[in-house]
């Protein structure tokens, strides 16, 4: 019989503390070795931790939602086997052998990021039919992410037919399901949403950035008519293995070209030490909307990638962030960030710098606009760039020069590649 102290393991580069998002055990519970005991949040990923030994939980290090330092005791387990910790009760003076200085064992060498598993009992008996629909209709609904429970069925006994699904989608999908009668009723309820996990991390980073960094924002319009022509040409003639190009890879390529002239924009500023670290490598953070919230996966060494590689890497890391498979080092280490709301619309934005970086480039919607060109009004494809800079280390004048250099490249796309 012994006591095993399971200390919060080091879960990634430079992380000194993590939030314990959820407990799956409490004091007094019996756990099996490898049993899932807690979810902890590191950087931007949730990691499941498993019990390293079987036994009874005698102590938990903190409450759910609290922060715990790496190396602090996560749980104390009373185990049949030999422990690694002294008895928690006061010990007689009898010299207990010192706790061996071995680091706390982690259940797995590399904790894999895991999805929660819901236990499913496969039943060969159907119960009450919540949804009555043929397998083909169920499959199509799944593919279109439609919950059949809200689709009105017109078939016998309320069976949902393929045309019911068509009508539901045509009528605007989920909105059609809202009960109309409630729309005009006065409402008084409030809902308190605890800000936890990734949301809390986003909140903290935003405050840190806005509080410490005097943001200087600069908005400029770019004529991307030529760039669009090039992009469409490349897409029409791409080889099967080459990904479809959006505008973003071109902006990434242009950035890697201009940044060497503006090293203070491709940098991280440590304001406590008052040191600006300028990078030769261009690690481009890509602000990405995921189900859980904003994440910034990173395209490493943008300067070493060609346009196709940029596009492929961009889509790979964005997908990884969205499906939760991104590794810790794919979510850290950016030296400049791009944020694009182009698909939604908007003529300008005021992006918040991804601290401790010094610059963030915001991409606004590409639109055809009338512009004066050689004394005539012509329709051109125009796009705005809304960028923010850390005014402590980047002067407005230099920031403007940087954006103008970027604009020149994008308006003369051949120059991106020479």
């Amino acid at each position: 019989m012994g006591h095993y102290s399971f200390k919060l393991p080091d879960l990634g580069e430079g992380i000194v503390e993590s939030e314990v998002v959820d407990w799956y055990v409490s004091v007094g519970d019996t756990v099996e070795e490898d049993q899932h005991i807690a979810d902890v949040m590191t950087d931007k990923a949730t990691v499941e931790l498993s019990a390293p030994v079987s036994g009874v939980i005698r102590n938990v290090g903190c409450e759910a939602g609290a922060m715990l330092a790496v190396g602090a005791e996560l749980v104390l387990i009373e185990t049949e086997g030999e422990g690694n910790a002294p008895e928690p009760t006061a010990q007689p003076a009898k010299a207990e052998p010192a706790v061996p200085a071995q680091p706390a064992a982690v259940a797995e060498p590399e904790p894999e990021i895991m999805a929660p598993v819901q236990k499913t009992t496969i039943s060969h008996v159907p119960g009450r039919h919540e949804v009555l629909a043929a397998p083909s209709v169920r499959r199509r609904a799944r593919e279109e992410d439609i919950d059949l429970g809200v689709v009105p069925g017109t078939g016998p006994a309320g069976r949902i037919t393929n045309s019911d699904l068509d009508n539901f989608i045509a009528a605007g999908g989920m909105q059609a399901a809202l009960p109309v009668s409630n729309l005009r009723a006065a409402r008084s309820a409030t809902t308190e949403v605890p800000i936890r996990g990734l949301r809390r991390m986003i909140a903290q980073k935003m405050v840190q950035s806005k509080r410490n960094i005097p943001h200087y924002s600069y908005i400029e319009e770019v004529d991307v008519s030529a760039l669009e022509e090039l992009r469409q040409h490349l897409n029409q003639n791409r080889k099967p293995h080459q990904p479809k190009l959006t505008l973003l890879p071109f902006i990434m390529q242009a950035l890697t070209k201009v940044l060497p002239e503006f090293p203070f924009c491709n940098a991280r500023y440590d304001d406590e030490r008052e040191v600006l670290t300028q990078y030769e490598a261009v690690h481009i953070g890509i602000a990405t909307m995921t189900e859980k919230g904003l994440m910034v996966p990173v395209v490493k060494h943008g300067e070493s990638l060609d346009i196709w590689q940029s596009a492929a890497e961009l889509s790979r890391i964005a997908d990884a962030a969205r499906d939760g498979s991104a590794k810790a080092d794919e979510l850290t280490g950016s030296t400049i960030t791009i944020t694009s709301l182009g698909a939604i619309g908007g003529i300008a934005s005021t992006p918040v710098i991804n601290a401790p970086e010094t610059s963030i480039i915001g991409v606004n919607k590409l639109q055809e606009r009338p512009v004066v060109h050689n004394g005539e009004i012509v329709v051109r494809k125009m796009m705005n760039l809304s960028s923010s800079f850390d005014h402590r280390v980047v002067d407005g004048y230099d920031a403007a020069l940087m954006v103008q250099a970027l604009k020149r490249l994008l308006e003369n796309p051949a120059s991106i590649f020479v």
Binding site: M114, V117, H124, H129, R159
Partner: protein, 471 residues
Amino acid sequence: MNTHRKCKVLVVGGGPGGYVAAIRAGQLGLDTVLVEADRCGGTCLIRGCIPSKALIHAATKFEELKAHAGNGKLGISISSAPELNLGQTIDWKDNIVNRLSGGVQGLLSKAGVEVIRGWAKFADAKTCEIETADGGQTLHAEHVILANGSSVTELPGIPFGGDVISSTEALSLQEVPEHMVVIGAGYIGLELGIAYRKLGSKVTFVEGGERILPIYDKELTRPIQQWLKKHDVEVITGARAESVDQSGKQPVLHYQDKQGETRTIAASKVLVAVGRSPNTAGWGLENMPVDRDGAFVQVDDQCRTSTRNVWAIGDLVGEPMLAHKASAQGEMVAEIIAGHKRSFEPVAIPAVCFTEPEIVSVGLTPEQAKDKGLDVSVGKFPFAAIGKALTMEAGDDGGFVRIVARNDDHVIVGIQAVGAHVAELSGEFALALEMGALVEDLAGTIHVHPTLSEATMEAALATFGKAIHTP
């Protein structure tokens, strides 16, 4: 020599779950490796569904021929009794198995799947050491599909060996045992016991429960009980098998009867058919951080285990341990890996017992429906009133089709049947449930005359009204 390689999908186990997963993954262009220690086909093809159906067919044919000896039957008589060479029957069965296993192998290579014959052992969730005849291989897979299947369950106190056999050996006997004692009157024990009865063995069932096939209701199992009685097959229920004494000339089974008294039966072979257990040992499952659900591996409705990109299907993940469930899961997992959106959400998993006569059950029985609080009606139609059944000597075994439907909207929640050849009706039953059919849908579908399926239409008519061919 130990070689290393990477692949996108590693499938462990070449049974109906694993090989279907691998074929689909290959068809979808994924770099797929399948590891199987034996030939491809799994329990189903090599020592389960297929060989048992072959044996049952041969046994039925033999019994039929016997009925024509002497005075004959249907005006057909043969002068002497038929003779059985069980060794040749088993060879014929083995040929079918070989042909199908070769076919599976062909489909796998056509789909571009690399099949490695060897024993897979996981060092961690994504790294697999494979022992093959010519050394070892290490595979690093992005996705792992566990399809390790199940094995026959051994009874404590009655180890396999000698004249104590499992279903595997029962499918390869060279001689018909004079007296076969079958422990367990579930569907595997009954299928094999009935086949050996037809082949000429005296057969005795020793069952722990109160009746045969406890998962089905009495109405469904009555025709089987009648057949057993008519063929002098003794069924001892409420009996606990304790040990088999193999020291004498014949194995002797010791069991405790209902009253707790110890009794013995001498046999030629003792067939233990008390179920199957998932294969969870010997291949490194303990090195993978996956959650368990009792003896099984726990999965969600997409067959994901608790470790990302480790999937599990088939018998390994729980009841019902049926080949068609494993195949459906295998196909789905391959498609999910290829990026499709799928989930395992059948309305029903149909089940068939190839007993004499056969039983089909899809969805809820009347009892199960009531237990779930459903307000249902039941429609039933006997094969005795179906012309086709009479013309093929299938009208006198007490068989019927039974439909269970909700009273409020007439949606069918279950269909069962018992009778000769009813297994082939199972497709329509399952389709009706999956399509959310109403009783009126079955009743309003013109069924071919003369076929057994007319009983389905008539049972539908009987559920909320009256069948046509009923007094």
